[in-house]
């Protein structure tokens, strides 16, 4: 997989009625602190969109508002034209918006393959009696779930570790498992919170390839927060830069790299 960008996605640059995610004037206030202040952006299906900014700029808070972990103070979030702001996080996840976490949240004492089965919970036969009596439908859905798990384990190169406890994997493997755990739910939009944190350069390159493959083969849009600039600039179609909770620039990687306000935010005043 090379770094080619999706031609369909780069053709149109302005927001369209068919936007996958529309964030409008999103604000989040914690007491006296305005952590996010009037953030707006659009994402098209299949787009890779990055949010960057110095530490404490409010990037993860934006994630938490979109994913339903916080209830935004004001603003709207539309997924496929449907408002999702204020919904509980598990309802949002069921609409095809899933995320990974900055500090990894795997089910650590459960095995790798069990982690992948749990994320398919909402798609499985969960009725009590069919499971107790192992009805054919129950067996079929369980086998299909295992097959999907094997497919994704192979994809992220963890098949040989399927029956290991997730907490015992190496750090990079845990990161890949968390992405697989999201992808197995067939999301429309995948939120990655600092996916390259703690990875070595080789692993970061693998991650770059993996994210591109997810987009081109599984038509998922990716919204990511990342500090690794080489990854962000290489992979993103569009970038939003935040500072002190406010958006200071939006544009393609090339535009962002030239933007004087961004340079100022990152490097300070001359």
């Amino acid at each position: 997989m090379s770094l080619e960008s999706n031609p369909a996605a780069t053709a149109e640059t302005t927001s369209t009625p068919s936007a996958l995610l529309e964030v409008r004037q999103l604000s989040m206030r914690f007491g006296g602190l305005l952590a996010v202040d009037g953030v707006s952006f659009d994402m098209r299906p299949g787009q890779i969109f990055a949010i960057i900014g110095p530490n404490g700029a409010g990037k993860t808070t934006v994630f938490n508002c979109i994913g339903g972990f916080y209830r935004p103070t004001s603003g709207t979030v539309l997924l496929d034209g449907q408002p999702i702001h204020g919904l509980p996080s598990h309802r949002i996840a069921r609409q095809g918006l899933v995320r990974t976490f900055q500090n990894l949240r795997l089910f650590r004492t459960m095995t790798v393959v069990e982690n992948l089965l749990i994320s398919q919970h909402t798609q499985l036969e969960t009725r009590l009696l069919s499971g107790l009596f192992k009805t054919p439908k129950y067996r079929r859905t369980e086998t299909e779930a295992l097959e999907r798990a094997v497919f994704w384990l192979e994809k992220v190169g963890l098949l040989h570790l399927a029956n290991r406890e997730a907490g015992n994997l190496a750090y990079g493997q845990q990161r890949r498992l968390e992405i697989a755990r999201c992808m197995i739910t067939h999301p429309k939009l995948l939120l990655l919170d600092e996916p390259a944190a703690g990875l070595n350069p080789q692993e970061t390159r693998d991650l770059d390839r993996l994210i591109n493959a997810l987009r081109s083969e599984h038509q998922v849009a990716v919204l990511l927060i990342e500090h690794d600039m080489s990854l962000v600039m290489g992979i993103s179609d569009d970038i939003l830069v935040m500072e002190y909770g406010r958006p200071i620039a939006t544009g393609t990687p090339a535009e962002i790299q030239r933007n004087p306000r961004v340079i100022k935010a990152y490097l300070g005043e001359e």
């Binding site: 899933v98 095995t111 919970h121 909402t122 499985l124 798990a149 406890e165």
Partner: protein, 418 residues
């Protein structure tokens, strides 16, 4: 060496301090005069033992890496898959045949042990799998017991008709409590459930008109075998008892054997159901919730319904066991449902190994059978019990038989995209 000596002296003094109230003081009753008398010998003996043990203790070599892991988490030997059903079948057959050769008291104790097996398995789902610390488990046990006693007394329903009703009542109580409190976690949940357990006991104690208050309810009907009673004479006009129907002589031990077999059947049913549940999506979700609630939510799992299902299932198991308890005793009062019962069931789960079925069963049997066998040490029961718990926490915090993760057989390489 001097440091070792100092430590040994300190530890010996501490041991002395702890043992004085237990062994060092004798109550002397002389007519109406009660006086305390010191008794130094046992205390000194224990201090000497502790001193010597501490002084000559071999320093434990700290293992590292994988050696450390394998030392802390010894895996029980895995039986070859094909032997497992045979072994389980053998154990069940022995458990069925055994009462016909055993003494009255042994059967009685075994029946009691089976009740605790049921309670332990049920609480294991709540605490071991779902990770919800429930200190008021006995409340649901009481609901089941009183449910059966009242239904049987007022409407004359049979044990078998009441059993599902009791399960439903306990599950409903569990959900009723669960809705408001399950947003709490950890210690807070423990405190609320502790309070709930006490509320139920106090209600039973004070609702005189309904529950008979502290006097309890007596003459509760025993289970029947397809309507055949186990008694010398039928309790109703024209009834037929078991021994009359089969033309046997009356033996009072038959009742005990029957009760034991009923308890065994009920325990096996619970074991089967839980064994299925933990391999089903719902069981996996329970464990996932224990591991990380936020991750569950981020993947679309609704934590409230999952917690509620674990809580409700645990409660219904307690109700199931409670109905049998009432039927076996023939008499219940609130004294049977004090906090210490919840504590014992929790101890069974912790000793056996959280989330481990086999461990919980063994611990339940050990904790009910051992005190009965070692009756002459009855005064030391709580002391030994506490000691065992402390030692377990030091050497085997994962329990007698730690839960092992099921190994999933993967299908052959799946070529098709999902």
């Amino acid at each position: 060496m001097p440091r070792n000596l100092l430590e040994a002296v300190l530890v010996a003094l501490l041991a002395g301090l702890l043992t004085v109230p237990i062994l060092g003081i004798h109550i002397q009753v002389d007519g109406i005069k009660v006086s305390l008398q010191g008794n130094a010998m046992p205390v000194l003996a224990i201090m000497a033992v502790v001193f010597a043990a501490r002084l000559f203790q071999v320093p434990q070599k700290a293992a590292t890496g994988m050696a450390y892991l394998s030392q802390r988490l010894p895996r029980p030997p895995r039986l070859a898959a094909s032997y497992r059903p045979v072994l389980i079948g053998l154990v069940i057959v022995v458990a069925i045949v055994w009462p016909f050769t055993a003494s009255r008291s042994a059967i009685d104790i075994a029946t009691l042990a089976l009740i605790y097996v049921m309670l332990g398995l049920g609480l294991n789902v709540v605490v071991g799998f779902a990770g919800l610390l429930d200190l008021g488990y006995v409340a649901f046990y009481a609901v089941g017991a009183y449910g059966y006693a009242l239904l049987s007394m007022h409407w004359g329903l049979s044990f078998w008709a009441c059993l599902p009703l009791c399960v439903l009542m306990a599950a409903a109580t569990g959900c009723l409590l669960g809705f408001p409190v399950l947003r709490l976690r950890g210690d807070y949940l423990a405190i609320v459930t502790l309070g709930f357990g006490e509320i139920i006991r106090l209600l039973l104690n004070n609702l005189n008109a309904l529950t008979g208050g502290p006097d309890g309810i007596g003459n509760i009907a025993k289970p029947t075998l397809f309507g055949l009673e186990f008694a010398r004479e039928p309790s109703t006009e024209g009834g037929v008892t078991f021994h009359q129907f089969f033309g046997l002589d009356y033996h009072s031990i038959d009742t005990l054997i029957f009760l034991y077999l009923v308890a065994l059947g009920m325990a096996l049913l619970i074991l089967y159901v839980i064994n299925r549940l933990i391999r089903m999506p719902i069981g996996r979700a329970w464990e996932a919730l224990r591991e990380d609630e936020i991750a569950c939510r981020s993947l679309g799992l609704n934590p409230t319904t999952i917690k509620l299902s674990a809580f409700g299932f645990g409660a219904s198991t307690a109700g199931f066991a409670g109905a049998f308890f009432a039927a076996r005793q023939g008499f219940i009062n609130p004294e049977s449902f004090t906090f210490i019962e919840s504590a014992i069931v929790l101890a069974i789960v912790v000793l056996g190994g959280m989330g481990s079925q086999l461990g919980v069963i063994l611990a339940a049997i050990a904790l009910t059978a051992l005190p009965e066998i070692a009756r002459q040490f009855a005064e030391y029961r709580m002391l030994i019990f506490g000691l065992v718990l402390v030692l377990m926490m030091i050497w085997r915090p994962q329990g007698l038989v730690p839960a092992s993760r099921p190994r999933l057989e993967l299908p052959e390489r799946a070529e098709t995209a999902p």
